[in-house]
């Protein structure tokens, strides 16, 4: 399917939120995307027709739901080029990273005591590692950002050393939109035998992610940012690594055998999935993947690139605007900005009155805000394939009006 401004309008009809909120200009897709009716229906369909607890009971419905749950995992695994047993269901990307931060020590090679992150991490890929560093007495380092809002690879080469135990980095910055060269970063980390962990929460819905091509050890993402339901996400881990980790949660569904004083656990992904899983959501998550595949991720990427280029061009027309973005060639589909002398929350509030939804504030990246020297944070407009040029025109026009009012 070749996407353009007209097909965007057709696809928008798949998303009931727009019917129920006439005139809504939704530019907060990096916070959470909207869901198509196919995904919403998959949830109600499961609970209305197939609901049962998979993997425990043996009646017809339980078997059916087990089959659907397994199928969902297969669909999602295939989407990133992984095997199903390498894909763990979690609550979201944040939980996946927390799970790793609590279980990863058996993989840390002796003599290594440093964790390397980048200055463009979301709190979810910063705080868990910061806390692990505190618990273990590890040193925490951050790869710097250059003035053009991309990673400073020279700084990286200095900070990535034989002491680096873990290198955790984002695929795409949720503030700057910068797309990192994750294959290159992974390759450098491997040379130093560091564990590589990629936060792909802002990536999977915008470009083709293939874990075999990247070669990373772990990669995490959330369903709700890619048209799927909330409350479910993925931890991908290479099979031989997942096998070496201890379980994080204990309980039903993850054990082979339990006696009063000892237990044996299942291997690979199942040992991390204690308790009844988010079955309906997993099935709907797979439906979201199918929806994306139907349109084609390459088509989505192309269409969103055009939107971003258009937004960068139009927003520059607003007097007093400052844009925090590496430019369309290096950026994913979001643009952060500020208007001189106007607080981001005031901008968001006034845009909201015109039914334009953006994100304003520190964007869950407070240290980065300090680095960018912005007080009160920035505004972020983030796009999806169902956005149109008209959405961006409206944003630009209202920003000009706001600028005028504050003169």
């Amino acid at each position: 399917m070749n996407l353009n401004n007209e097909t965007a309008k057709t696809l928008k009809r798949d998303f009931p939120i727009f019917k129920n909120n006439p005139g809504l200009v939704y530019l907060d897709n990096a916070a959470t995307s909207q869901r198509p009716k196919q995904v919403i229906r998959a949830i109600s369909n499961f609970y209305e027709k197939e609901n049962a607890n998979p993997g425990r009971s043996t009646h017809r419905l339980a078997e059916k739901s087990m089959e659907a749950f397994n199928e969902a995992r297969k669909t999602i695994a295939k989407f990133i080029g992984a095997n199903p047993e390498e894909v763990v269901f979690t609550k979201n990307a944040t939980e996946s990273l927390n799970l790793l931060s609590y279980t990863i020590l058996p993989l840390v090679k002796s003599g290594k005591n440093e964790i390397l992150l980048t200055e463009m991490e979301h709190h979810s890929n910063l705080v868990p590692w910061q806390q692990l560093a505190k618990r273990q007495g590890f040193k925490l380092k951050f790869v710097k950002i250059k003035p053009d809002f991309t990673l400073d690879y020279d700084d990286l080469k200095q900070k990535l050393t034989n002491k680096t135990a873990i290198f955790a980095f984002t695929y795409i910055s949720n503030v700057l939109g910068t797309v990192n060269d994750v294959r290159f970063l992974t390759r450098l980390a491997k040379q130093k035998r560091a564990i590589t962990i990629i936060d792909a929460a802002q990536a999977v819905q915008h470009l083709k992610v293939d874990i075999k091509e990247i070669g990373c050890d772990f990669l995490v993402f959330s369903s709700h940012k890619m048209l799927g339901p909330t409350g479910i996400g993925i931890l991908y881990g290479r099979k031989e690594l997942l096998e070496k980790l201890r379980p994080f949660n204990f309980g039903g569904g993850m054990i082979k055998r339990v006696s009063w004083h000892d237990s044996e656990f299942k291997n690979t992904m199942e040992k991390f999935e204690a308790g009844t899983q988010n079955i309906g959501e997993a099935i709907a998550f797979a439906e979201a993947v199918k929806y994306i595949e139907k349109i084609g991720i390459e088509n989505i990427q192309k269409c969103e690139k055009e939107l971003t280029a258009y937004a960068l061009k139009k927003l520059k027309e607003v007097p007093g605007i400052r844009i925090y973005n590496p430019g369309e060639q290096k950026s994913s589909s979001l643009v952060s900005f500020s208007l001189s002398g106007i607080h981001p929350h005031d901008i968001a509030e006034l845009l909201n009155k015109e039914k334009i939804a953006i994100r304003a504030g520190h964007q869950c990246a407070m240290p980065l805000m300090e680095r960018l020297k912005v007080q009160g944070g920035v505004c972020r407009a983030s796009f999806s394939f169902y956005n149109t040029f008209e959405d961006i025109d409206k944003l630009t026009k209202v920003l000009k009006d706001i600028q005028q009012r504050f003169k």
Binding site: Q375, G376, V398, Q404
Partner: protein, 128 residues
């Protein structure tokens, strides 16, 4: 595109008296000899406001605030500091949030109430 007037922005929260005060707030700055001081943060946006007071004989003789904030937080700080300058510390300590909201004479969205009360929290913290 020229910045001509398009359809006006509906502006409950951004009335003229509010915007004027935002552009030139009262008591903005720092004191030379404060004997009470506190900073409060708004974790939603990372805003901070520092309030300095000079208290003598149980009276707020002088007060200033500084920091960065949205229209609501700056204007509320301005109105609050005006109100409590010259007041008894014992009265300031029991000042209620609703009274600060009343000073603004506008209807706030729930999300912005915290912005309006940031400086009151700082004042109370300083006088603890």
């Amino acid at each position: 595109m020229a910045t001509q007037k398009h359809e006006p922005i509906p502006e409950d929260m951004y009335k003229e008296h509010i915007l004027e005060l935002y552009k030139s707030p009262s008591n903005f700055g720092t004191l030379k000899n404060p004997n009470h001081e506190a900073t409060e943060y708004n974790s939603v946006c990372g805003d901070e406001v520092t309030v300095q007071l000079y208290v003598k004989d149980g009276i707020v003789k002088d007060i200033k605030f500084s920091g960065s904030g949205c229209v609501i937080s700056i204007v509320a700080s301005s109105l609050l500091t005006e109100k409590i300058k010259g007041q008894k510390v014992s009265d300031v300590k029991i000042l209620k949030g609703e009274e600060v909201l009343k000073l603004l004479k506008i209807k706030l969205n729930p999300a912005r109430v915290k912005c309006a009360l940031l400086s009151l929290d700082a004042v109370k913290g300083a006088l603890k």
